[in-house]
C-alpha cells in the first residue's frame, strides 16, 4: 500500500520535472539542428554556434550583460551587507521605513517599476543607458541581499564581537577578522543571487536601454519579435547553463526551503 503510494508520488514528481525541463531541453537541442526554421527530422550541426561566435551585436550585448551584472553584484552586496549589519545591530529610528522600502522591488510588478524609472530618469536628466540599468538592477538585488545576509546574521553570536573588542581590536579589525569570516557564506550566497538577478534581468533593462546599448535579454527579445535563427537557441543555451551553474553554487551556501 505505502509502496504503491510512493510509486505514484515519485511518478507525479517525475512528470512535473519533465514539464519543467522538457521545453528547455528541446530549445537547447534545436540549437544543434541544421534547419534554420526548426524543421524536423533532427540533423546535428555546430554551425549556429560558429555563427554566434561571429555575431558582433550579441557579443557586445553579452559583454554589457556581464559588466552590468558584475557591477550590480559588487554594489548591491556591499551596500546590502552594510544595511543588514546595521539593521541587526542597532535599533534605529526610521528602520521600519527601510524595511518597508524593501517590499516594492519584490512585490510591485517590474513593468510598473521599470516604466516609472524610465519617466523619472528621463525627466531628471539621469537618462537611459548602462548607468541607469545599474541603478535599477542594484535596487532589485538589494532586498534579496539584505534578507539573505540578515538571515545569516541572526544566528551570529554577538559574544565573539564583544570578545574581540575586549581584546583590544578596533571595530574595523573586528569586522574583517571576526564578523566577515563568520557571515561569509551568507554574503557569498547573496552575491551569487545578485549576479543571477542582474544577469537575467530583462524588464528594467528593456525600458532603460537606449538604441544601440543593449544586454543579452533585451537583444533576445528584439530577435524573437523581429525574426530569429537558431543562433538565439545557442546563446540561450549558454545563458541557461551559466545561470544554473550559478544557482547550484548558491545552494552550497544557502538551504532552499529552510532546514535540510
Amino acid at each position: 500500500m505505502s509502496c504503491s503510494r510512493s510509486i505514484i508520488g515519485f511518478g507525479y514528481l517525475a512528470l512535473v520535472l519533465l514539464f519543467i525541463y522538457l521545453p528547455i531541453a528541446i530549445m537547447m537541442l534545436m540549437g544543434f539542428n541544421v534547419s534554420s526554421s526548426y524543421e524536423l527530422p533532427f540533423r546535428f550541426t555546430l554551425a549556429w554556434y560558429q555563427q554566434l561566435a561571429d555575431n558582433e551585436v550579441l557579443w557586445r550585448a553579452g559583454r554589457n550583460s556581464v559588466l552590468l551584472a558584475s557591477a550590480s553584484t559588487a554594489v548591491a552586496t556591499i551596500v546590502g551587507t552594510m544595511a543588514a549589519l546595521a539593521m541587526s545591530r542597532y535599533r534605529l529610528r526610521g528602520q521600519v521605513l527601510l524595511q518597508v522600502l524593501l517590499f516594492p522591488p519584490m512585490a510591485v510588478p517590474w513593468l510598473i517599476l521599470a516604466t516609472s524609472m524610465l519617466v523619472f530618469f528621463y525627466y531628471s536628466g539621469i537618462g537611459r543607458g548602462l548607468h541607469a540599468m545599474l541603478l535599477a538592477h542594484v535596487a532589485l538585488c538589494l532586498p534579496y541581499v539584505i534578507i539573505v545576509v540578515g538571515a545569516r546574521l541572526q544566528s551570529f553570536d554577538r559574544g565573539l564581537e564583544e570578545a574581540s573588542a575586549t581584546l583590544g581590536a578596533n571595530p574595523w579589525q573586528t569586522f574583517f577578522r571576526v564578523t566577515l569570516p563568520v557571515i561569509a557564506p551568507g554574503v557569498a550566497a547573496a552575491a551569487l543571487f545578485a549576479f543571477g538577478i542582474s544577469f537575467d534581468q530583462f524588464v528594467t533593462s528593456y525600458f532603460l536601454s537606449p538604441p544601440g546599448v543593449t544586454t543579452l535579454p533585451v537583444e533576445i527579445y528584439a530577435s524573437i519579435r523581429k525574426g530569429f535563427t537558431p543562433e538565439i537557441n545557442a546563446i540561450s543555451t549558454i545563458i541557461i547553463i551559466v545561470s544554473m551553474l550559478l544557482l547550484t553554487a548558491v545552494s552550497r551556501f544557502y538551504a532552499f526551503g529552510g532546514s535540510k
Binding site: 519543467i20 552594510m82 512585490a107 543571477g196 537575467d200 526551503g257
Partner: protein, 290 residues
C-alpha cells in the same frame, strides 16, 4: 551620563551611515520614480517643448469610460486566475509529496531541480515554449504520429500563454508550499492517525490549514506578476496576447503616451495593493514560517 550618551550617539551615527546608502538608493530608484509617475498620470499630455500640460483626471476617466480598458483589465485578471489555479493544482500535490514522501538527499536534489530553472531567464523559457508549441513542433508532430489528421500547433493562442506562465511560476508555488508543509510536526499527524482519522480527514483538518500561509504566499506571488506580465502574452499569445501589461508597454515604447501609460500602471498598482491588503494577515504568517 555624558560619556554614555555620546557613546550612544556615536553608535547611532554609525548605524545611520551604514543604512544610508541603501536608503538613498531605494529612494532614487523606487520612491521618487513612483511619485513622478503618479504625478504624470494626472497630466493631460506629454510635457514636451513649449506646450504646458495641465493637471487633469482625464487619463483615469479614459480608463473608466472606455470599455476597451475595462475589458483589458478583466482579461489580465482572468489570466491571473487561470494561471494561479493551475499552479496550485499542479504545485501543491508536488510540494506535499516532496515534504511527506521523499526523504533525505533525494528531497534536496528534487528541490534543487525544481528551483534551478526558476532563476534562469524567464524570457528564454518562454522562447523555449515557442519551439515546443509551434505548428510542426514537437507536440504537433507527436500528435500527428498518433492521429495524422489532427493538427495541434497551439502557439499564438490563449492556452499557450497559460502554459508558458504556469511553467514560469509553478516552481515558486512548489517552493512556498513546501516550506510550510515541511514545518508541520509529524506528531500532529500521528496523533490524528491514533485517533482514527482517515487520510482525507488528516489532510483536511491538519495539513491543509497548517500549510495555508505558504499556499497563500505562493498564490499572491504568482497572481501579482502574472497580472502585470507583458512579455509572455506578447511572445506566446500572438493576436490573443493583448493584455493590460502589453498595452502599458505600448504606451511607453510605441505610442509615447506616457500619461496614459502612467494612469494604466497606477490602476494596475491599485489592483495589486488591494490584493496584498486583503491577504496580508495570511501573508504575514506565511513569511514568518519561511
Amino acid at each position: 551620563m555624558g560619556a554614555s550618551g555620546s557613546m550612544r550617539l556615536k553608535r547611532e551615527w554609525v548605524g545611520y551611515s551604514l543604512t544610508a546608502p541603501a536608503f538613498v538608493w531605494l529612494c532614487l530608484t523606487i520612491v521618487l520614480p513612483l511619485a513622478v509617475m503618479l504625478y504624470f498620470s494626472f497630466l493631460s499630455a506629454m510635457p514636451m517643448g513649449m506646450a504646458k500640460p495641465t493637471l487633469t483626471l482625464g487619463q483615469y476617466q479614459t480608463f473608466f469610460e472606455k470599455d476597451f480598458y475595462r475589458f483589458l483589465t478583466w482579461r489580465s485578471i482572468t489570466l491571473g486566475l487561470y494561471v494561479t489555479l493551475t499552479c496550485v493544482v499542479v504545485g501543491y500535490p508536488a510540494a506535499l509529496i516532496l515534504a511527506r514522501l521523499v526523504k533525505g538527499r533525494w528531497r534536496e536534489a528534487v528541490l534543487l531541480l525544481v528551483v534551478l530553472p526558476f532563476w534562469s531567464n524567464a524570457l528564454i523559457r518562454v522562447f523555449a515554449w515557442t519551439m515546443v508549441l509551434r505548428t510542426n513542433g514537437i507536440i504537433d508532430q507527436a500528435v500527428q504520429l498518433i492521429a495524422p489528421s489532427l493538427s495541434l500547433g497551439i502557439l499564438y493562442s490563449y492556452p499557450a500563454i497559460v502554459i508558458g506562465l504556469v511553467h514560469s511560476f509553478v516552481p515558486y508555488m512548489i517552493l512556498t508550499c513546501y516550506i510550510s508543509l515541511q514545518a508541520i510536526d509529524d506528531s500532529l499527524i500521528e496523533a490524528g492517525q491514533a485517533l482514527g482519522a482517515t487520510n482525507f480527514t488528516i489532510f483536511r483538518r491538519i495539513i491543509l490549514p497548517l500549510s495555508l500561509p505558504g499556499l497563500c504566499v505562493g498564490i499572491v506571488l504568482t497572481f501579482v506578476p502574472v497580472v502585470g506580465s507583458f512579455m509572455e502574452p506578447r511572445i506566446l499569445g500572438g493576436p490573443q496576447g493583448i493584455m493590460l501589461g502589453t498595452v502599458i508597454e505600448d504606451q511607453f515604447t510605441e505610442v509615447f503616451n506616457w500619461p496614459l501609460g502612467a494612469a494604466l500602471s497606477f490602476t494596475l498598482l491599485a489592483l495589486v495593493a488591494v490584493i496584498f491588503l486583503v491577504t496580508s494577515p495570511l501573508l504575514r504568517r506565511g513569511f514568518r514560517t519561511a
